[in-house]
Structures are given as C-alpha cells and as structure tokens.
Amino acid sequence: MSHYDLLITHIGTVLHHQYLLPLIFGTIAGVVGGALPGVTITMTVIMVLPFTFGLDPLQGLAAMIGVYVGGSAGGSITASLIGIPGTPSAIATTFDGYPMTRKGEPGRAVWVGVFSAFLGGTIGGWFLIELTGPLASLALKFGPWEFFSLYVFALSMVAGLVGKSVTRGLLSGAIGLVITVVGPDPIMGTQRLTMGLHFLEGGFPFLPVLIGLFAFAQLMPDIEKVRRGEADSVRAPVKMILKISKLAVLWEILSRPVLLIWSTLVGLLIGVLPAIGGSAANIMAYDQAKKFSRRPEKFGTGIPEGIIASESSNNANVAGSLIMIMAFGIPGDAVTAVMLGALTIHGIQPGPLFISQHPKIAYGIFASYLIALPLMVAVIWLGGRAWMRVITMPKSILVPIVLVLCVIGAYALGNTMNDVYVLFLFCVIGYAMVKGRIPLAPLILGVVLGDQIEANLIRAVSNNPDPWLFITRPISGGLIAASVLSIILALWQHRREAKRLAGTEDEEEDTDF
C-alpha cells in the first residue's frame, strides 16, 4: 500500500464514529479552552487527558489532536473580539484583530483568523505527512552518540531560547534531568536518591509531574490577581454581529498567497524546534509579515495581513510539533509532551521506529489532524454564540473543576494516591519556579528526555568507552557544536536585550508555556 493509500484508508477509519466522536469532543473542548482567557491549550489537554485513559490509543490521540487544533484557533476568537488572547499563541492576533473589531468588523476579524488557521494548518499538514517519514528514516541512521547529542542539543536550545536568562533556563533543564534520576538505574535497577521512600522506587511518574507543574503554575498567577469582591472582568460581547460572507473572507486570505505560505513556514519551523511553541511562532510570523510588507505602518490598525500571519503560523506550528515527536520522540511543546506521556501509558514510544512499528496510530494521527481542521471551522461556525457565553465562566467556578480533573488524571494512571501526592509536590514546585522566575519548558523537556539521555550515554560507552566519539563522529559532533553555539547565541541575545532594557523595572514572571 502506498503512502497516500494508507492515508486515505486511515481518514476513513477516523471518520468512523468510534474515533470521530472523541475528535469532535476534543475539538469543542479545544475551541472553548483556547477561547477562555487564562486557560492555555496545555491546561485544556491536561483536563481532557483523564477522559482518554479508558479509550484505545488512537481514540485518545484523536481527542488530544482535536484539543490542539481547536485550541490554536479558539484563542483567536477572544483575541479578536475582546482584545484578550485566549492563549499565548494568539497574542499577535490581538494586534490587528481587536482594532478590526473596534472598527465595526468583528465577523471579519474572527473569520480571517479562523480561515487563516485552517489554511495554515492544511499546508502544515501536507508538510507533516511528507516530512515525518523521511526525517524518521534519517533518525534511524543515528547511533547512541547521535541521539545523546541530539537530546542535549534540544535541551540546550530550549534552555537558551525560553525565558529571560540562560542560567535560569539551564538550571530548569538540570532540575528536569535530576527528577528522572530518582528511582531505579537503567542497567542494574539500583535504587537512586529515593531517600527510603517506597513510593519513589519506580521513579517519579511522568504525567503527574507534568500535570502538577502546569496546574498551579498556570492557575495561581490568575488567582493572585483576584481582588475580594471583584467580579471577573471578561464579559462576552453578546451583541456583536459575526455574520459575514465566508467566501469573501477566504478570497481575502487566498489573494495573499506569499504571506500565507511564508507565515505557515515560520510556524512550521518554530514547531519543529523543541518546546518553543506557538507563543513564539505567532509573534515571529507577525514581525516577518510587517518587515516584508509594503505598508508596515498599517500594521496594528486592523488590517487582515496581521491576523493572517499570526493565525496561519499558529496552526502550522501544531504540525511542526507533531513532526518532531513522531520522527524523533522529542516534544515540540508542552501539549505534545502530554501526548507523549499518554502514548507511553499504552506502551508506545514515539521515535524513529514509530511509523513502521505503529502505522495505524501514525497514519491515524495524520488523518485526525487533517479532519480536525474542517471540524474546527464547523465547531466555531455552528457554536460561535454559545462559545462566547462559555468564555464568561468565572474563575471561581473554573479553578476547582480544573483541579478536580487534575487529581483524577493523576489518580487514574495507577489507581493509587501516591501519584496524587506526587501531583501536589509538583504543584508546589511549579508555582515556586514561577515565583523564582525559572522557566518551566526546559524542565519539562529535561523530564521527557532525561531517561533517554542516560540510556543512550550508557549504550554509547558500552559499545566503545572512548568519550571523544561524541565529538569525532560527524553528526554527533555537529550537534554538540550546535548546542554550544545555541548557548553562546542565547547569551549574546540576552546580553544585548539586558543592555537595551538597562534601568527599566523588574522583569515579569515567566508563565508562558
């Protein structure tokens, strides 16, 4: 069976109600979660996670891909209508979406965003389908030296690029690696750093760690801002008329093909880079669109170019993240890190052998992604008014529900309270890190890659104890050199930024995931 025959077969499979229902449910949850200010896509996928435990792997992944695609577009609704981005990945959409709404064109603002997300996602989907296989084949040529260096490169790049200090980024990555060291060692099973606690003898379970880190780290900064007696400030613009000719909006986007394709490529590239995520993609694409525009002075006044750049890159970013996790087993962002955790629960390890060993799931992911895009448009089209009412849900109702779902997610993994205690421990650590201005993304990547780094290190030195091989083998050496370069580049950028901001006030906490 050819590549496209397999894809068409699996599109048929995913259209079966067994997979379509979780995909629809996930897309709706994604659109609502994405639209809710203060609730990120990561938080939404964590809330949906416990519902996927009782499902087969592809059903669970379909639901999560629905959340991912729906959430990426959902954030643009609030960004355009009320000027508050539903997710960090829709920040740049506010720059032109909200002014367009204020000019009396809310329908145009929303639908330029939605259709740009759809088209950017579709082009990104083509790259996902075409690039994942060849990249996985390339990764198959890697030995343990190359994998070790690749993971170190991923970690160094994230530590350098995320947050406002390279040292804090590196420290965060190191904490993530230390977390994976607790428990049995990969060769002899010797217990390490368990401090005599029996529940640590299997190591820290990945998903409770991840849920705990994100739960309080994302919710508490919002709770800090709540004043006694103050109602939530977000009010639904219920009287806005969103009706507009969809064909006219589509033509408006398609008549700017260079902008659409360029922004999509920017989003795709940022998605492939580990743990950077859509929050960087939309800003970079917006910046690029402004630089290359013939009328840069119009950006920020409510022109469609700004929305097209932001939203197309935003959804292409999803495809980029999926390429990285399927070909190399490295999560492109926190959402794919949760998906990786969900796969490992079912005994599936994403990486170079993923497509050949689990073709049903791999092609099911491609198919789910492609079907989720029109579903996202349909969900926003049919339920637009209802979602606008949902986003007025007060934080006082939302926060307890999110926390209960977090507890269920941790407990249901092994039907043990130990995982819930781990969850609480990492809730405290996550919030402490936010207050200490230490970024969370490198820690997450450290937790995801820690075991792999150690296993490949041991495999490499067991094959040949010569440590110079990490540098003298061309790919491995190149990746190590790239790691060093990425840190040097990040140091230079941070230094330049610090000089520019010298004398300004204290920096903000890093809660962007």
Binding site: R168, L219, E224, L403, V404, V407, N415, M417, Y431, K435
Partner: protein, 167 residues
C-alpha cells in the same frame, strides 16, 4: 539582599549538594564502564553549578542596583506601587487543595470532591445573592456527578473510595 531568583538559586544549590551527598552510597560499576552514580553526579553537579551561578549573578545585580539607586535617588521620582498579588488567596487555595488530597482516601471521591469544589468556589468569590449560592451548590454537586458518571460508568475508571464512609 537576594532577589527571588537568588533565593531560588540558593535553594537549588542546597538541594543539589544534599542529593550529591546521597549518591555516595551507590555501588560501583559492574557490567558497564559507568555505574549507577555516574549520571546522577554529572547532572547534580551541573545543577549545583547553575544554581551557584544564579546566586552570584543575583548578588552582582544587587550591587549594581544599589549603586544605581544611590546615584539616582534624588533625581528620580518614586514610581507608583504596582498592585500587590493576593497571596492570601493563593495560600488558601493551596491549603484547601492539600486538605482535599488528604481527605480523599478517607471521605471518598464523591463527598470530598463536592465539599472541595463548594469550599474553593466560596473562597475565590463570596456569593452575594441566593442565585449565586444556588449556582455554587449546583456546580459542586454537578462536577462530582458528571465526573463520577463519566469516569466510573462510561470510561470504567475507578475513583477513590472512602475508608471512613465506604462511598
């Protein structure tokens, strides 16, 4: 003297040194060139190095800030204080969540969750009308019922049973 970053660095430094101390008891390598202690020592040393660097950088930044502040003290007007974060609400949320987790095995999912969702809603926003009180009660019961039916009945995931209540 130290800012939040510096304190975080100091805490991380203390933890990494303590964990490095714990690796002393690990056995030497047997089957492979590197033993179970090698990798933890490498990552813990790296963590200690980053933590120490963070503390030093924070101290240097503090000196610079102090020097700048003393020279510009008279020239610059004081900026208006930003709104203070509502830490009492954060602590209350942490405490209620902790108590919920502690009571979960004793009370069981259904009772503990209803009480937790009800209590946290009131903590975050005091209901001012009977309609809002009704909504608070309905959300507490509704969350528990929907979770119970969705997970126990449809997804066949067992939720915690209460040792004291049997529910």
């Amino acid at each position: 003297m130290l800012s939040r970053s510096g304190i975080a660095g100091l805490v991380c430094l203390a933890i990494s040194i303590w964990l490095l101390f714990l690796t002393r008891g690990l056995p030497p390598p047997i089957m492979v060139p590197i033993g179970p202690a090698f990798y933890p020592r490498v990552v813990l040393s790296f963590m200690a190095l980053c933590s120490a660097l963070l503390v030093v950088m924070d101290l240097v930044a503090f000196r610079r800030r102090r020097a700048v502040a003393s020279t510009e003290q008279s020239a610059t007007a004081r900026k208006p204080a930003a709104a203070r974060p509502n830490y009492s609400l954060v602590i209350a949320t942490f405490v209620e969540f902790f108590v919920y987790i502690l009571l979960l095995p004793g009370l069981g999912f259904r009772i503990a969750t209803t009480v937790f969702v009800f209590a946290l809603q009131i903590t975050l926003e005091q209901p001012r009308s009977w309609k809002r009180w009704l909504l608070t009660v309905l959300v507490a019961i509704g969350t528990t019922v929907v979770c119970y039916i969705a997970f126990e009945r449809y997804l066949l995931i067992l939720l915690p049973r209460g040792d004291w209540t049997g529910m």
